[in-house]
C-alpha cells in the first residue's frame, strides 16, 4: 500500500481481483490509470486504520405525488429499496435532495434522491458530490433506460447520456464528464408510435410492476457487490445474466 502523500484520495492502486497490479517501487507516484475500480482503502499514516472512499448513489426521478411510481422514477424506487435493505434512513435534506448517510459493510454510502425536477438533477448532484468529496468514479447514477427490455439491469463503468435529460444535466454539472458508473434499469420501448414523454410519465402495468419489483431486489444486490468489489468479472456476469434473464424456458 502506498502512503498517500496528499490528503485527498488521489493515489489508489487498482487492486480488484482480475486486474493485474504491478507495483513498481520506482514508479511509486504513478496514478492508477484504471480509475474505475473498487473503493480502495487508503492508509492513514501507515496505521491499520483504513478509510474507504465513499460512494454516492443517486437515483434520478421527479418529485411529487403526480410522478410517484412512474417509469421515469424507477431511480427513486431503487434508492428506496437500498435504504430499506441496508437500514439507511433518508432523513436529511441537503442541496435540494433527500439524502441518507450510512454504509454497506465498511464502505460509507450516501444515498440521494434529488427533489429538483428531472431536468435539473445536476444542480443537486454536483454540489452534493463536491461537498462530500466523492470522486467522479464513485458516483453511481441509477436511472431508467428505454433501450433495455423491461426489468433488465445493466451496470456500466461509464457511458453516454442516451437522450436522458436527467443524465444530460448531471453530466453537464460534473464538468461534462461521462466517466461515472451507472446502473440502468430497463423500461422497454414505447409501444408503436406512442409519445416518448407520455410513455415515461406513465405508471407501470401490473405485469411490468412485478418484473420491476423482482429486478429491484437484484439491483440492490448488484449495488452492494459493486460498492464492495468494484467493477470486476462479477459485474460482467451480472450484466450477462440480466440480459438473458427472460430467455429462460
Amino acid at each position: 500500500m502506498l502512503h498517500a502523500a496528499s490528503p485527498t484520495p488521489g493515489f489508489c492502486l487498482s487492486s480488484s481481483s482480475n486486474l493485474n497490479c504491478r507495483s513498481y517501487s520506482t514508479k511509486a507516484l504513478v496514478r492508477a490509470r484504471f480509475s474505475v475500480c473498487c473503493s480502495v482503502g487508503e492508509s492513514k499514516n501507515g496505521a491499520t486504520k483504513v478509510e474507504y472512499t465513499p460512494w454516492l448513489v443517486v437515483g434520478l426521478g421527479n418529485p411529487g405525488r403526480k410522478y410517484h411510481g412512474t417509469r421515469h422514477n424507477v431511480g427513486f424506487e431503487v434508492i428506496d429499496s437500498i435504504s430499506k435493505a441496508e437500514g439507511i434512513r433518508m432523513n436529511t435534506i441537503q442541496s435540494k435532495a433527500l439524502i441518507g448517510i450510512g454504509s454497506i459493510g465498511d464502505v460509507p454510502i450516501l444515498l440521494a434522491k434529488p427533489q429538483t425536477y428531472m431536468n435539473f438533477s445536476g444542480e443537486s448532484v454536483g454540489p452534493l458530490a463536491a461537498y462530500y468529496q466523492v470522486p467522479l468514479r464513485h458516483i453511481l447514477l441509477v436511472y431508467d433506460e428505454m433501450k433495455l427490455p423491461n426489468g433488465v439491469l445493466r451496470l456500466q463503468p461509464k457511458g453516454g447520456h442516451g437522450y436522458h435529460n436527467g443524465l444530460k444535466n448531471v453530466m453537464g454539472h460534473l464538468d461534462g464528464s461521462p466517466n461515472f458508473p451507472r446502473l440502468s434499469i430497463g423500461i422497454g420501448n414505447p409501444p408503436g408510435n406512442m409519445d416518448v414523454k407520455a410513455f415515461l410519465l406513465q405508471k407501470f402495468s401490473s405485469v411490468e410492476r412485478e418484473q420491476i419489483d423482482a429486478s429491484l431486489e437484484q439491483g440492490v444486490e448488484a449495488v452492494k457487490t459493486l460498492v464492495l468489489n468494484g467493477f470486476s468479472n462479477q459485474v460482467y456476469r451480472f450484466n450477462l445474466g440480466q440480459k438473458y434473464k427472460y430467455h429462460k424456458v
Binding site: G87, Q94, Q115, Y132, Y244, Y246, V249
Partner: protein, 583 residues
C-alpha cells in the same frame, strides 16, 4: 322495403308449396322472414364469392423441353457418392469428392479448386445433383449459355481454340462426321509466378502509418468486392486481382451467412489470394496485395463459367439428435415454442457477434432461439449448420423461421463458479449490523435516536452540514412526495441565503455598527469575519467607496441571523445604483 333477391327466389319457389299468394296485400300477411335457418342456410349469393384471390398466372409458360434450358435447380438427378475420391475424370482433369466437398483438380494447379472456399461445410456430401462436369470449359453436353460475349479483342481471339482436321482414323460409329482436333492441349490457367514465394511478394510488414494511409481513402468509397452467402468463390480470386491492378488495397465487404465465422473467411482469403489483411472492421476486410506485387505475373486461374450445383448433404435436423430420445427431443421443442428469441437477424446483415451471444445465452438456459424472419430458408439453415459447429450445440428445429438450439449434454459453463448474487438474502451483509466498537473504521453515532453507521469523515461532514444550515434533518419519516417537495423548496430558500451571503465587512470608521453580518457565513470559504478594524476591500467588488458609504447608512439595525429583505448584497447594489441616478 328492400327485398333481398333471395327472398324473391325463395318466395317464388315456395309459393306452390306454402300456398301464399305472391301478390297479397301487405296487411294480410306480414312479411315473414325467410324459412327458419337450417344448417346450410346462408342464402346463396348470386355470384359465388371466391375465398382466395385467383392464382396469378406466371408470366410465360416455361418452354420445358429444350435441353439447353435444363438446369440443375429442381431437377431430379440424384447420384449418391458412395466413397470419397474421384467421381469423374477427363484426361488429367478430375472431379473429386473429398474433405472439401466437391472439388476440381486441374493439371498444374497449386491447389484443388472449389466453388466456394470459405463456405464448404465440413460434412461430407452424400450425393450430387448434376452430372459431374468441370465448370471451367463448356462440356460436350447441351447447357444454357453462361459464357462471355463474343470474342472481339485480339487478346480474346488468341484464346480461341484452333481446330484442325484430325489425323486419327474416324471412330467406328460416326459416318460422315468430320473429326477435328486441337492443335495443342487447351491450357486453362497459368500458375507460375516467376518463382516468387508468398513472403517475397508481401515484402516487409506494413507499419501503422502506412496502413492508415492506405486504408483512409477507401473507407467511404464504394469500390469493393462483395462477399455474400456463397463466401469466397473461385471467380472472386480473379476479381480481387483485378482490383489489385488498380489499387494496392482491395476492400472486401462480407455480409450475410459467412460473417458468422469471420475467422474462417479471413483465413481463406489470405490463403488463396496471397494477400495480407491489414484491417478488419466488422464485416469489412482490407486486403493488401504485397509490396512486390506484379499484376502480370499473378497466377491466372481459369474462371468458372457457371455455378455448379451444391451436392446433397446429410440432414441438419434429426428426430432424435444428440443422444436424446425422440420424446425428449419433442418435449424440448415444445418448450422452445414459448421461448423468447435472443436476437433477430436482419436479412443480409453482419452476424459477427452471433456465436458469442449464443454461448452467453446458454449460460442461463439450455435452449436458445434465434428469430430469422425474413431470411431465406437456405440462409438460416446455413447459419444453423455453422452454429452447430462453432458453438457446439444441437439443432432442434427450424419451424416458424426460428432456429431452436439445445446446448447438448456435454455443455461446460464458461464461468466455473455459480453465479455471484442470485439470491436476495446473502449472508455476510446484514443490515443494522451495529459494530460495537470492534472495528476501527466505523463510527456509531446516536442522534435523536437514530443509529448512523458510517465513516468518521462522512459523519463529520454531515454534522457540519446540518449545523451550518446547509442540510436539514427531518424528524418525521414517511413524508409523502408532495410534502417532501414542499419542505425541500422551503428549505432551499433558507439555505440559498446561507450560500449566497457575504462575509462580514467591517469598516474602520464605523464604530457602532456591529458586524452583524458576521453571523452570516459563506460556507465554502472559511473566511473569518473579524471584528477588528479592517478596512475592507470587498473581494472582487468595484466601487468600494460608494459601497462603503452605504454600509454606513444601512447598518443601523441589528440584523437577525436570517437576512432581511433589504440587507442582502444585491440590495446594496440596487441602492447604490439608485443613488447614482439621483446624483
Amino acid at each position: 322495403m328492400v327485398l333481398i333477391p333471395s327472398m324473391v327466389i325463395v318466395a317464388l319457389s315456395a309459393s306452390p308449396l306454402s300456398g301464399r299468394n305472391l301478390f297479397s296485400s301487405l296487411p294480410s300477411t306480414p312479411p315473414s322472414p325467410p324459412t327458419p335457418p337450417h344448417p346450410s342456410s346462408t342464402p346463396q349469393p348470386p355470384i359465388p364469392i371466391p375465398k382466395y384471390p385467383p392464382p396469378r398466372k406466371s408470366l410465360q409458360n416455361p418452354p420445358n423441353n429444350h435441353p439447353a434450358l435444363k438446369h440443375h435447380h429442381r431437377s431430379s438427378y440424384h447420384k449418391p457418392v458412395n466413397r470419397p475420391g474421384v467421381i469423374a475424370s477427363d484426361g488429367d482433369r478430375s472431379v473429386i469428392v473429398g474433405d472439401s466437398g466437391v472439388s476440381y483438380l486441374l493439371p498444374g494447379a497449386p491447389f484443388e479448386f472449389q466453388f466456394s472456399y470459405s463456405e464448404t461445410p465440413k460434412e461430407k456430401p452424400i450425393a450430387i445433383r448434376e452430372p459431374a462436369f468441370l465448370p471451367f470449359a463448356p462440356p460436350t453436353m447441351p447447357r444454357p449459355w453462361t459464357g462471355k460475349a463474343p470474342l472481339k479483342s485480339k487478346k480474346d481471339k488468341e484464346k480461341k481454340v484452333r481446330l484442325l482436321e484430325s489425323l486419327n482414323p474416324p471412330r467406328p460409329g460416326s459416318n460422315g462426321v468430320k473429326q477435328l482436333q486441337m492443335a495443342k492441349p487447351l491450357e486453362l490457367g497459368k500458375y507460375s509466378r516467376d518463382g516468387k514465394s508468398r513472403e517475397e511478394i508481401l515484402g516487409e510488414p506494413l507499419r501503422k502509418w502506412e496502413i492508415r494511409m492506405l486504408v483512409k481513402p477507401m473507407v467511404s468509397d464504394n469500390r469493393q468486392v462483395n462477399l455474400g452467402r456463397d463466401g469466397l468463390t473461385h471467380n472472386m480470386l480473379e476479381l480481387i486481382h483485378s482490383h489489385w491492378k488498380r489499387s494496392p488495397v482491395c476492400k472486401i465487404r462480407c455480409k450475410g451467412v459467412p460473417t458468422v465465422d469471420m475467422k474462417n473467411v479471413c483465413h481463406h482469403i489470405e490463403d488463396k489470394t496471397g494477400g495480407k489483411i491489414i484491417l478488419r472492421v466488422g464485416g469489412v476486410v482490407y486486403l493488401f496485395r504485397g509490396r512486390n506485387y506484379n499484376y502480370s505475373t499473378r497466377p491466372q486461374y481459369p474462371v468458372m463459367l457457371w455455378k455448379p450445383a451444391a451436392p446433397v448433404y446429410p440432414k441438419l435436423i434429426q428426430a432424435a439428435p444428440g443422444g436424446l430420445t425422440k420424446d425428449e427431443a419433442d418435449e424440448l421443442r415444445l418448450k422452445g415454442k414459448s421461448l423468447l428469441p435472443i436476437c433477430k437477424l436482419a436479412k443480409n446483415g453482419v452476424y459477427t457477434t452471433l456465436v458469442k451471444d449464443v454461448r452467453e445465452a446458454f449460460e442461463g438456459s439450455p435452449l436458445a432461439k434465434i428469430d430469422c424472419k425474413g431470411l431465406e430458408p437456405s440462409d438460416y439453415k446455413k447459419i444453423g449448420a455453422k452454429l452447430k459447429d462453432l458453438v457446439p450445440c444441437v439443432l432442434l428445429s427450424f419451424d416458424d423461421e426460428q432456429i431452436l438450439m439445445w446446448r447438448g449434454n456435454d455443455w461446460k459453463p464458461m464461468f466455473p463458479q455459480s453465479p455471484p448474487f442470485s439470491h436476495p438474502s446473502e449472508a455476510g451483509i446484514t443490515e443494522d449490523s451495529v459494530s460495537t466498537g470492534e472495528t476501527d473504521d466505523d463510527n456509531e453515532s446516536e442522534q435523536e435516536g437514530n443509529m448512523v453507521n458510517t465513516s468518521p469523515k462522512m459523519l463529520s461532514l454531515w454534522k457540519h452540514a446540518i449545523e451550518s444550515s446547509k442540510a436539514l434533518l427531518l424528524d418525521d419519516f414517511n413524508l409523502g412526495p408532495d410534502a417532501l417537495l414542499e419542505k425541500v423548496e422551503e428549505f432551499e430558500g433558507v439555505s440559498q441565503v446561507m450560500e449566497h451571503s457575504y462575509p462580514a465587512l467591517i469598516l474602520s470608521n464605523e464604530n457602532g455598527a456591529k458586524g452583524s453580518m458576521a453571523s452570516f457565513e459563506d460556507g465554502t470559504e472559511d473566511s473569518c469575519s473579524s471584528q477588528d478594524g479592517l478596512t475592507t476591500e470587498d473581494e472582487g467588488d468595484d466601487d468600494d467607496d460608494s459601497y462603503n458609504d452605504f454600509l454606513e447608512d444601512d447598518m443601523f439595525d441589528v440584523v437577525e441571523s436570517y437576512a432581511e429583505p433589504s440587507s442582502l448584497p444585491i440590495d446594496f447594489v440596487v441602492n447604490k445604483l439608485k443613488q447614482k441616478r439621483e446624483e
